[in-house]
């Protein structure tokens, strides 16, 4: 990590850094999954136009 001086959160250990980034990515995937891929009818209907507009699999 020779770019550490300009990395975000440069004070954390590399293992903790890895875990935090993985956690962020999974949080993002979870959010996308709930809004765009949930099979719950109410969630589907609320985000219906959005799902079609993003070409997410729908119906």
């Amino acid at each position: 990590m020779n770019t550490a001086s300009v990395s975000l959160g440069d004070s954390v250990s590399s293992q903790s850094r890895f875990m935090q980034l993985v956690l962020s990515a999974f949080l993002g995937i979870f959010v996308i999954g709930v809004v765009g891929f949930s099979h719950i009818d109410a969630v589907h209907n609320a985000a219906h136009d959005y799902r079609h507009s993003m070409a997410f699999p729908c119906h």
């Binding site: 975000l8 954390v12 962020s24 990515a25 949080l27 993002g28 996308i32 209907n45 609320a46 119906h59």
Partner: protein, 259 residues
């Protein structure tokens, strides 16, 4: 959790900006086409989702509604009820905007987290390249096998399509990462194989492609979805680059190998 907090902060700002931009583009480019398609869906007996049959349906739907009332058998099946749906008009628009912003933040979280592993997005120009990669992985690649669909278009089983969608995104992203950050020919070949593989396997396809939607309307929709998503990803990447540059206080180019 210092790093996590920073990632979430940057993602929240970038997702908010790009989500609002995307919602504005959708209001003009894609949503009018969806509403047009719903007229065909209604006329065709609208078997799948009839939320457009809400009281505030368009005047253009009236004929279709009359045709529907001739088939009360479907209406007489409340067990098939699709549950709550936002009312047409402002409420429906507001929920679309909300969905855009929330998932914009979701995409931004993934983008920031993945790019940090590769040294981070140093400025808006690097962000544009990262945005192009996100567009390729999340829109272009899955869109080849599963083109953007309008209501009333036939489609294969939902869960299978969703699995194929996520697998294609993951394989494409991994392939692009290998090409961009590993200077090795065998790995580059593996990367191409990863990108091509989902399309050899093939997306789940419907049994029949019969649809009341005119082909011209669908083509227009595919173009609108692709272009709006391209702009969304470019804005998302660029804003991440700008905000992150402010954060670290250095907006210099970090990587000589990329961008």
């Amino acid at each position: 959790m210092n790093l996590f907090r920073n990632v979430v902060f940057i993602a929240a700002i970038a997702g908010l900006v790009a989500g609002v931009v995307l919602a504005c583009m959708q209001a003009y480019a894609t949503v009018p086409l969806i509403l047009k398609a719903e007229v065909y869906e209604q006329a065709g007996g609208g078997h799948e989702h009839e939320h457009a049959a809400a009281p505030a349906a368009n005047a253009a739907d009236t004929n279709a509604m009359n045709a529907m009332s001739a088939a009360p058998a479907e209406a007489a099946a409340p067990a098939e009820d699709e549950g709550w749906a936002p009312a047409d008009g402002f409420e429906r628009f507001a929920f679309s905007v909300l969905a855009n912003i929330v998932t914009g933040i979701g995409f931004a979280l993934v983008l920031v987290a993945v790019s940090e592993f590769a040294g981070g997005i140093g400025n808006w120009r690097q962000g544009v390249f990262w945005g192009l990669a996100g567009f390729a992985a999340f829109t272009l690649a899955p869109g080849l096998g599963l083109p953007p669909e309008l209501p009333a278009m036939p489609a294969a089983d939902l869960t299978q399509r969703q699995i194929w969608w996520w697998a294609t995104v993951a394989a494409t992203a991994a392939g692009l990462g290998l090409i961009a950050f590993r200077k090795s020919l065998p790995l580059a070949i593996l990367a191409v194989a990863l990108i091509v593989a989902p399309h050899i396997v093939g997306a789940p396809q419907p049994g029949s492609f019969e649809t009341p939607i005119p082909e011209g309307l669908h083509h227009q929709f595919v173009v609108a979805v692709t272009v709006t998503n391209l702009v969304f990803w470019l804005v998302l990447g660029a804003v991440v680059g700008v905000v992150r540059g402010r954060f670290t206080g250095t907006a210099t180019s970090l990587r000589d190998s990329f961008a």
